[in-house]
C-alpha cells in the first residue's frame, strides 16, 4: 500500500466508522420496528440497504472479515425483502445477533484490527444459521403490480396537450406541423385549436419567429414519456402541459402510496407517472431561475401544481410520502464536528453581549440613525442566534428508539410481555442534553420494567391485559421539554414507601408527610423498596442519582402514581443551555432576568393592591382569582434603595401554576446569554444562571419552578440551610 493510500485510509476511516455505526443502529431499529409489521416493504428495503451500505464501504478499506460476514447477512435480507423468506421472530432474533457481530467487527476496525478473532467462532455459527435460513428455491417471478385499470398502458387514453411553441422554434429548424403530424402516428388528434393570439400584425411580424400555440386532445395508447419524446427537440424552447383527464387524482394517490421509498418529491411523482422527468426538470429549473434572481423560490410542489398541471391532490400525496421518507432518516445531512459548532455558539454568545453593549452606547449617544442601525444588527443577531441554536437540536426520537432493544431484551429476560410506545419522537432538544439524559432515562425505563410492570399472569389475575404498556413521550411546553415515562403496572404503594422511609430514618417514625411528598421520598439517597436486588436495579443508588443528573441539567423530575394502575415519571428540561429570550427587571440597584417563555403578563404600578406579608409573600386579586405574589425586595433583602411608590408585578407561569413577582422596575426584553453560576452560588435557590448585561452589569436569571415553590410556601429562607 502506498503512502497516499495509507493517508487516505487514515483520513477516511473515522468517517466510515461513524457511518457504519449509524447503519448498524438503524438496522437494529428497523428490525425492532418490523417485529410489529413484518411485511412493511419500505422498512425491508431500508433494512437491506443498511447492510449493503456497510458491506460496500467496508470493501474500500479492505475489511474482509466484515465484508464476508455482512455478505451473508445481506443475502438473507435480500431474500426477505423480495418476499422469498418471511421475517418471523426466529429470523429476527438471528439478525439481531448478527448485527451485534457487525458491531464487534466495526469496533475492531476502529481499533485498527481488520478482524475480530475472538468472535470468529460465534460468527461461523451464525453464518451456518444464516445459510440455513435462506430459501433454496429460485426466485419466483416478481408479482405483477396491480395498477388501477385506467393506468394500464394497454388501453388508449385521451391526453390533453397544451403547448406554446417558443420564438426560436422555426429558426431551430423545427416545424410544429411536422410535430403534430408525428403525433398522429401515435394516435388520433382531436379538437385541435390553434392559439394565434400572440401573432403580431403583419407589418410587425418577423416571419421566422414562432408565435403559435396549440391545444388538442390526443387519443393514444402511448405513455407520457413517449408523448413527451415527440416534443424532445423543441422541449427547451416551448411550454408543454400534458394532462391525463381520465386518471383521477385518487388513482395517482393510490399508486404513490404503494411506491417504494423515494426521498424526493419529484422522484415520487415521476415514479407514479403523474409527471415525466422532463416536467420535473422544468420545475426544478424554474426554482433555480427564481433563486438566481433572488426571488423566493416556490416549493417544488407548488410549481408542479401550477405550471405542470399536476392535480393538487397528487402533489399532496407525494409530499406526505416524502415526509414519511424523510422521517425515516433519508435526509441529506452535512457532517459537522460538534466542537466546531460549540465554538460558533460561544462566539455567538459573545456577539449577543457585545451587541447589547453597542446598542446601549448608541442609545446614550441619542443619534437616531445609530440607534436604528444597532437595532437592525440586534435583529440579525437574534435570527442568527435562533438558527444556530437550531443546529444543535436533534429529535429525541433517536434516543427513544434505542430503548426498543432494551425493552425487548429486558422484558424477555424477566419473562414479561411489554409493548413500548413512543410519542412525540420528533420533539427536538439540544444534542448535549440528549446525551446526558440517556442514562437517567435508561434507569427509569429499567425500573419500570423491573418493578413497575407485572408478569403476564399477575396482570391477568387482576383483570389487566397480559401485555404491559410502557410509554415514552416528549413534548414542548413553554421553554421546556417534557419527557414522560409511564407504565400501566402495579403503581407505587405509598404505605410501603412510608414504611421504608421510617425504617431508613429518612422520615421521623410516625410522621406522615404530605401526600405529594411521599412519592418524592423515592428520590432520597439510600432508598429502595426492592426486596431483592437484581442486576438491573434495586441497589438503591438509582433514583437519587437520576434526580441529581436531571437537576444538573437545570431540570426537574416529578412522579405520580396510582396503586394498581401505573406510574408516571415526568422530567422537565430546558430546551437549551446556552441562550434564551429574557425579561429584565430591576429591584433596587440589582437586575434580574426571567425566561421570557415563563412570563405571562406584566402589571405595572399596581403593587398597592397586593396584600403583602412581612415575609415577602402575599396575594393579589387578578381578574377574580387569587395570585400568590412574591416580593423580591423582601426575599433577597434588597433594601439598598427605598422602594418606589408604585412597583410592578410580573406574572410568571411554571407548569400549570402561575404566580406573581413584585419588582421595582420593568426593563423590557433582553437576549440572555446564560453563564453558569459559580460554585459558591450553587446553593442559591431560585436562580438558574447569570448573564452579563450590555452595560457590563451582572444579572441573575431566575428559575421559575424554584421560585414558584417560594411563592407558594411562606416562611422559607432564600438560601439553603448550611448543613446541606
Amino acid at each position: 500500500m502506498s503512502d497516499e493510500d495509507r493517508d487516505f485510509i487514515a483520513a477516511a476511516l473515522p468517517v466510515f466508522l461513524s457511518e457504519a455505526e449509524e447503519q448498524v443502529e438503524r438496522l437494529e431499529q428497523l428490525l425492532l420496528e418490523l417485529e410489529a409489521d413484518p411485511g412493511d416493504r419500505e422498512l425491508l428495503d431500508a433494512l437491506f440497504r443498511c447492510a449493503h451500505t456497510v458491506k460496500g464501504s467496508a470493501g474500500v478499506f479492505g475489511l474482509d472479515a466484515l465484508v464476508g460476514f455482512t455478505h451473508h447477512v445481506e443475502t438473507l435480507l435480500d431474500q426477505i425483502r423480495e418476499g422469498r423468506r418471511a421475517l418471523d421472530a426466529g429470523v429476527s432474533t438471528l439478525l439481531l445477533l448478527c448485527n451485534d457481530q457487525l458491531r464487534r467487527l466495526i469496533d475492531a476496525a476502529g481499533h485498527g484490527a481488520a478482524d475480530d478473532p475472538e468472535g470468529a467462532p460465534a460468527r461461523d455459527a451464525l453464518v451456518l444459521r444464516l445459510r440455513a435460513a435462506c430459501s433454496a428455491e429460485p426466485a419466483p417471478p416478481p408479482p405483477a403490480v396491480a395498477l388501477p385499470v385506467s393506468l394500464t398502458p394497454a388501453g388508449e387514453r385521451l391526453w390533453h396537450v397544451w403547448v406554446r411553441f417558443g420564438a426560436e422554434t422555426f429558426r431551430n429548424g423545427m416545424d410544429p406541423l411536422a410535430l403534430l403530424n408525428y403525433l398522429k402516428t401515435l394516435g388520433r388528434l382531436e379538437h385541435v385549436v390553434c392559439d394565434a393570439a400572440a401573432v403580431p400584425e403583419l407589418e410587425m411580424l418577423d416571419a421566422e419567429t414562432c408565435h403559435l400555440g396549440f391545444e388538442f386532445g390526443l387519443r393514444t395508447a402511448a405513455g407520457r414519456e413517449e408523448i413527451e419524446a415527440a416534443f424532445s427537440f423543441v422541449r427547451e424552447d416551448c411550454e408543454l402541459h400534458l394532462i391525463e383527464p381520465d386518471a383521477g387524482p385518487e388513482q395517482f394517490v393510490a399508486l404513490i402510496q404503494s411506491l417504494p421509498q423515494h426521498p424526493r418529491l419529484g422522484d415520487i411523482l415521476v415514479s407514479a407517472g403523474a409527471i415525466s422527468q422532463a416536467q420535473l426538470h422544468a420545475a426544478l429549473a424554474e426554482q433555480e431561475r427564481s433563486r438566481a434572481v433572488g426571488a423566493p423560490a416556490a416549493p417544488l410542489g407548488e410549481i408542479l401544481k401550477t405550471k405542470a398541471g399536476v392535480p393538487a391532490a397528487v402533489v399532496d400525496a407525494a409530499l406526505q410520502r416524502q415526509a414519511r421518507t424523510e422521517g425515516g432518516g433519508e435526509d441529506r445531512f452535512i457532517r459537522v464536528q460538534a466542537d466546531r459548532l460549540d465554538a460558533v455558539i460561544n462566539l455567538l454568545g459573545e456577539l449577543v453581549i457585545a451587541g447589547a453593549g453597542a446598542a446601549e452606547l448608541a442609545r446614550e449617544s441619542r443619534q437616531s440613525k445609530l440607534v436604528q442601525a444597532n437595532d437592525q444588527i440586534g435583529g440579525l443577531i437574534e435570527e442568527i442566534r435562533n438558527a444556530t441554536l437550531q443546529l444543535r437540536m436533534v429529535p429525541i426520537g433517536e434516543s427513544f428508539s434505542r430503548f426498543r432493544r432494551v425493552v425487548r431484551d429486558t422484558a424477555a429476560e424477566l419473562g414479561k410481555e411489554v409493548q413500548l410506545e413512543i410519542q412525540g419522537g420528533e420533539t427536538e432538544l439540544d444534542k448535549s442534553m440528549v446525551e446526558r439524559i440517556a442514562d437517567p432515562l435508561m434507569h427509569l425505563v429499567r425500573n419500570a420494567l423491573d418493578h413497575g410492570l407485572e408478569t403476564a399472569e399477575q396482570r391477568r389475575a387482576v383483570g389487566k391485559p397480559g401485555q404491559g404498556r410502557l410509554v415514552l413521550s416528549a413534548c414542548h411546553d413553554g421553554g421546556s421539554i417534557l419527557i414522560g415515562i409511564a407504565d400501566d403496572g402495579r403503581g407505587i404503594d405509598r404505605e410501603r414507601v412510608l414504611q421504608r422511609a421510617w425504617d431508613k430514618g429518612l422520615v421521623e417514625h410516625g410522621v406522615v408527610p404530605a401526600e405529594a411528598d411521599i412519592l418524592n421520598l423515592i428520590f432520597e439517597p439510600g432508598f429502595s423498596t426492592a426486596e431483592k436486588i437484581t442486576n438491573l436495579s434495586g441497589r438503591g443508588v438509582g433514583m437519587d442519582v437520576v434526580r441529581r443528573n436531571i437537576e444538573a441539567l437545570r431540570g426537574s423530575v416529578a412522579i405520580s402514581s396510582e396503586l394498581g394502575s401505573g406510574t408516571r415519571i415526568e422530567i422537565r428540561l430546558p430546551l437549551t443551555l446556552a441562550i434564551i429570550d429574557g425579561f429584565l427587571v430591576g429591584v433596587g440597584t440589582s437586575r434580574f432576568i426571567f425566561p421570557l417563555d415563563a412570563v405571562v403578563e406584566v402589571i405595572e404600578g399596581r403593587s398597592a393592591e397586593a396584600a403583602m406579608q412581612p415575609d415577602g409573600c402575599g396575594v393579589l386579586a387578578l381578574r377574580g382569582q387569587a395570585l400568590p405574589v412574591l416580593s423580591l425586595r423582601t426575599l433577597y433583602e434588597l433594601d439598598d434603595t427605598p422602594a418606589p411608590a408604585r412597583a410592578s408585578v410580573v406574572v410568571v407561569q411554571s407548569g400549570a401554576r402561575r404566580y406573581g413577582v413584585l419588582v421595582d422596575a420593568l426593563l423590557g426584553q433582553h437576549q440572555t446569554v446564560i453563564k453558569p453560576l459559580g460554585r459558591m452560588l450553587r446553593t442559591l435557590r431560585g436562580m438558574s444562571g447569570s448573564t452579563i448585561l450590555g452595560n457590563g452589569e451582572v444579572a441573575l436569571i431566575f428559575d421559575p419552578e424554584a421560585l414558584r415553590r417560594f411563592a407558594e410556601r411562606p416562611a422559607q429562607r432564600a438560601t439553603a440551610p448550611a448543613d446541606r
Partner: protein, 98 residues
C-alpha cells in the same frame, strides 16, 4: 358589395423559406387595397408544401385584412393545404367568407 381581388397564387412552397418574401409581397399589396377592403383571393391549388411558419403568415394576413374590413379567401385549396390546416386547427382559414 364586396369586391374580390385576386392576388398572386400561393407558391408551391408556403413555408419558412418563402415566408419572408411572401410577407413583403403581401404588405405591398395591402397598401394598394381599396378602402372597404373586399375579399382577397389567393389561388391555393398549387400548394405542395406547407409548414407552421407559412400557416402563421397566412393567419397574419387574414387578420390584417380583417382589420381593414376585408377578408381572405384561400381558393381551390390543394389537398396538402387542407390537411395541413386541419392538423393545425386552422380549418376556418379555408372557409369561404361571404
Amino acid at each position: 358589395m364586396d369586391a374580390t381581388t385576386a392576388w398572386s397564387p400561393l407558391p408551391a412552397e408556403v413555408g419558412i423559406y418563402a415566408a419572408a418574401e411572401l410577407r413583403a409581397q403581401w404588405l405591398a399589396l395591402l397598401a394598394g387595397l381599396p378602402p372597404g377592403g373586399g375579399t382577397v383571393e389567393l389561388d391555393s391549388s398549387g400548394v405542395e408544401q406547407i409548414d407552421a411558419a407559412g400557416a402563421q403568415l397566412l393567419l397574419a394576413l387574414a387578420h390584417a385584412l380583417k382589420v381593414r374590413g376585408g377578408s381572405l379567401q384561400l381558393a381551390r385549396p390543394s389537398r396538402t393545404l387542407v390537411d395541413g390546416c386541419k392538423v393545425l386547427g386552422l380549418s376556418n382559414l379555408l372557409e369561404a367568407r361571404a
